[in-house]
Subunit: 224 residues, 2 copies
Amino acid sequence: MPRMSPTERRDAIIEAALTVALRKGFGSTTVRDVAAELGCSSGLIHHYFESMDDVLAAAFDQAAGRELASIEVAMAATDDPIAKLTAFFASYGRGDQDWAFQLWLDAWAEAGRKPALGATSRRINVGWQRLLASAIVAGVDSGTFACPDPDATAWRMLSLLDGLALQIVAHGSVVPREVSVEWSIAATEDELGIARGTLPRLNAVAAAETAAAGVAAVAAVATR
Amino acid sequence: MPRMSPTERRDAIIEAALTVALRKGFGSTTVRDVAAELGCSSGLIHHYFESMDDVLAAAFDQAAGRELASIEVAMAATDDPIAKLTAFFASYGRGDQDWAFQLWLDAWAEAGRKPALGATSRRINVGWQRLLASAIVAGVDSGTFACPDPDATAWRMLSLLDGLALQIVAHGSVVPREVSVEWSIAATEDELGIARGTLPRLNAVAAAETAAAGVAAVAAVATR
DNA sequence: CGATCTGTTGGACATCTGCGCAACAGTCTA
DNA sequence: TAGACTGTTGCGCAGATGTCCAACAGATCG
């Protein structure tokens, strides 16, 4: 393995830890996994990090922080409140992010037991809420939205999204993904006092197609 | 360790596993932990359970299943749809149940890695959804509620509740407990087409008192 | 060119994990 | 009281894990 500068190597380790964690989950990411992913020896990881905990904490910070940052950029790219929220749901509803959400499940579960991880989780979670709330405030100011309490609305949106995503990631297709996104968008429209259908559905066709089957599937699961 | 009948011993193991899991989480509860908690040998655990996964699943099944059963009983005690939902929120909003919800966080996080635990988590989660949905259907039939899709409404109620409870348990008082209960009840009233305030607030005084301070606290946290 | 620095190696070490097994010890029956 | 039944033990196995360390190798400098 070619030599690297300490900064580069540190970043590379975090990157590799993230790659492994996304594939295997936080709980079963080991030093040797990260070393193998990077193609280096296991000793090298401990040359840069005091403990494995530090590696995982840095990896989660990087992953969750990067995702938040990218959504921030996407939402900041426009002044239109509707477009801002559309950008938000576009990032949130992506179907290939199950493992990323699994990281959040792990972080929430461990938050009470691992202070550093808990603090990171809380900080980034609040960051999301602030991001949503500020977009809502912008919409209220421009007269697009009607919302008496943007902070509360942001928390409710986030909680509904998280609660639904949680079911999908933890329990498989108990609730069809497209249906849950549709529910979240519709709830947002109600919260913001705008007509149903105002926020664009990114894959309107697919959502419509799966809507009927989706509800049927829910009923089927529920009757099991 | 004195002899026990198989049923007693099995229950004792489940109880001990539960105690340990509450302290360390499902992810890092080991056979030896449970044995130490019970004061017996590790071999005994495997005499009663095929695998550790089964022990944890049984422990979670016991805790979560017991809670679901008690809510079922409470809701079945009345025919009035409003009273049914009131009973539901009474159980859900209790402030001393953080430890129980922590189990759910652990279960959701581990669901993808421990099949038996995941299946149990899914089954009981769906059980809650069915319970809520049937109460809603009863209310629709009696003309009390107006709800086009009780199954969907039940999932949304549960997801909002879980998402909010998650923030409280994982991140401390990011959202004040009483406020989150109030939000959930209000959202339910909107879903069921009944006037705001129709569902009784169990601790209306406390909720009202903390409401203003609560929103202020949300803002304070958000500005950090 | 030789010396020094430091990124990197690969394995040693102690510990922990789930699990299986042969032996032990209470309890009940004939 | 002798024997059978079975709850219980304590250790061993094989694999995994975090951590540490002496040796190696590539880069830099006098």
